[in-house]
């Protein structure tokens, strides 16, 4: 169950990445109605976009790392169960 979810999770992250990159090239030109800032003042609508990307990359890297940690721990536990089964069968 977890292994298959893990694979789905990887695909999901890839999909989110594709959406983020696609969106980045098509967006962020819209300003709030309450007041538009001239582009010169903001150095263009893409000013500070790198910080937004950095946040998304870091957040998803952390979540991916955590899922990876969980899947490794699960693998370790499966090995432990196998060893324990062997020990018990030898004792019997």
């Amino acid at each position: 169950m977890f292994r298959s979810l893990n694979r789905t999770f990887r695909l999901f992250i890839l999909l989110v990445g594709v959406v983020v990159v696609t969106a980045a090239f098509n967006s962020v030109g819209v300003y709030a109605e309450s007041g538009t800032v001239p582009e010169t003042q903001q150095n263009g609508p893409e000013a500070n976009l790198k910080y937004l990307f950095a946040v998304f990359i870091l957040v998803w890297a952390f979540f991916f790392g955590y899922i990876f940690f969980l899947s490794r721990r699960l693998k370790e536990m499966k090995n432990e169960v196998a060893i324990l089964k062997k020990i018990i069968s030898e004792k019997e």
Partner: protein, 228 residues
């Protein structure tokens, strides 16, 4: 449990895609802070979950201290482990946002400082757990640490009211101001993002609690095998 996990996982996938679309393509750019303000839609939900998580650890620890039931302990441990990840992300995303807005990566702002204390509490809890021998008093000592840590959550929340801070007024929770300065679209995006990360957190909790119970069972079998 497995059906619940599937529902929460599916919900996370759908909601996360909607959230990413809203943040990058739908919500308007804030006039003063520019694009970097969009970090808000990730940073604040992470902060919210970081605070909720320590409360979960605290409540589950009380449950464990009162009943000695290991399920409470599994909940507390899982929430602490997830809490340290979310607390780390609050600090990192906050620093990345602070740089373009304040011009510095870090300042000893009351909200930042109390959040850093929260991070140390989470790490302290997990260290007490990892250094204690299985079956010893470690679980109960850690529960006491969690109870002390839970006090920090309301302090973080109230920091912008009690002290002078660079953080804006409260946008979430019982004391959030009704006349929030958020644009309608901004508020919707923020709310969707908050729900998304909360659903994701619940999914991770379900997954981790189940694993923690298996880890406990394995420890018991190890002890049994070593005794016989």
């Amino acid at each position: 449990m497995s059906g619940m996990k599937t529902i929460f996982f599916g919900g996370t996938c759908i909601l996360m895609l909607i959230t990413v679309y809203l943040i990058f393509m739908w919500v308007p750019t804030e006039q003063n802070l520019g694009i970097s303000q969009r970090i808000f839609y990730v940073h604040v939900p992470l902060g919210w979950i970081g605070m909720v998580s320590i409360l979960v650890v605290g409540i589950a620890s009380v449950g464990h201290l009162c009943t000695r039931n290991n399920t409470w302990d599994a909940v507390a441990y899982s929430a602490a482990e997830l809490g340290v990840i979310f607390a780390t992300l609050i600090l990192i995303t906050g620093a990345v946002w602070a740089k373009p807005v304040w011009g510095v990566w870090w300042s000893w702002d009351p909200k930042l400082t109390t959040t850093l204390i929260l991070w140390f509490i989470y790490v302290g809890y997990l260290m007490v757990r990892s250094f204690s021998i299985p079956g010893s008093q470690g679980r109960r000592y850690a529960s006491v640490v969690a109870l002390l840590g839970a006090i920090d959550a309301p302090i973080i929340y109230m920091a912008s009211i009690w002290w002078r801070t660079a953080h804006p007024n409260l946008n979430i929770g019982p004391l959030a101001e009704a006349d929030s300065d958020l644009d309608g679209k901004m508020y919707i995006t923020f709310f969707v993002s908050l729900v998304t990360f909360t659903v994701f957190y619940v999914y991770l909790m379900l997954e981790r609690i189940q694993m923690r119970k298996i880890e406990d069972d394995l420890d018991e079998v190890h002890q049994y095998v070593s005794l016989t």
